[in-house]
Symmetry: C2
Subunit: 192 residues, 2 copies
Amino acid sequence: MFDLILKNIAKHIQLDKAEEDFFISVLQHKIIERKAYLLKEGDICNTENFIIKGCLRTYTIDENGVEHIVMFGIEDWWVGDLYSFLSRMPTAYYIDALEDTEVLQITKKNLDILYERVPKFERFFRLILQNAFIAQQNRINQNLAFTAEQRYVNFIQNYPQLEQRISQKQLSAYLGITPVFLSMLRKKLVHR
Amino acid sequence: MFDLILKNIAKHIQLDKAEEDFFISVLQHKIIERKAYLLKEGDICNTENFIIKGCLRTYTIDENGVEHIVMFGIEDWWVGDLYSFLSRMPTAYYIDALEDTEVLQITKKNLDILYERVPKFERFFRLILQNAFIAQQNRINQNLAFTAEQRYVNFIQNYPQLEQRISQKQLSAYLGITPVFLSMLRKKLVHR
DNA sequence: GTAATTTATTAAACTACTTTAATTTTTTTC
DNA sequence: GAAAAAAATTAAAGTAGTTTAATAAATTAC
């Protein structure tokens, strides 16, 4: 159960057995069934979550009831709402499961203890955050510079595994277009 | 000259005099005149840059020659291209000065030395990054959920100081619309 | 395994935003 | 401070993407 997360960590920092054990001792295992929520708007996000199985989406619902997906998460990814987690303020986001999902959770309190006891984790979470930041900056630029068609083509090139797992409805909510328009784009692209 | 940056750091971590002195010793002062570049596409980004005076923009130029601004930076902000800085790969971004600007620079090498000598800086840059990450996630969501008009109104509400300092041309390149359309929006909003 | 629900497709009318181009206003430069 | 360059405005025609609605296909639920 802890294999994937230990490998994830080993990519960035080296832990001895005692540090590994301590880390594992602060994790909680949670199952989120398909369509169940990990977080709802207005909640305080109490945990950061490492996905060991399944698929989650982080999204908002606008004033017209339309969903907008800011990120997907699959195995080996961390998800949560960092703002709410850190500030203890209510989140603006929903997180729910697109497939039956299992996560390993760490609370704010435990993370603070972990930073104190094993300061290497400061580095680890800085590195995780760096990667996430770079990916986000890229996405902002893509949203500014590219048409919906280009963004769709880039998505299926960059995340072919993910494209297989999510519906077009979810993908359109991530790309920032309607499902109808995505369907039109696909038709047009097939005919080439 | 080092006042602002020391205050910026003191918001997040506490340094003793020796640590302050060491930190200052690894910084380089650089002046970037209006319209001059701090970084060009294809360069390797060798420094992170703290602005003590002036205004910078980070942007790409697409295949049609159109500029897209991913961020502005003013006094008290860090700018650079983290991806290129960390990976030593060529950047996709341009950074240039919208006003005569002064920055304090730290190289990758010196930052690594700093992390080793004063590990508290791991925490500092993690916190800086957290704030930047949260701001970016917000922007992604705004770009998905809001119309250009709403994004414009939000911008002038959230960054009134910045709006005074940048031209509409720059703002439109940040909002993801044409200068012509921004002008139309402004006209429409004034008449309310 | 069938009914119910959700997702995807198609078409047609619509709208937010772009493009082009001409004019005015502001800023920069020497 | 005059000339040149850049930015902003306006209008009109064009297009990428939306909306609505009807139908088909796929998935879910009991």
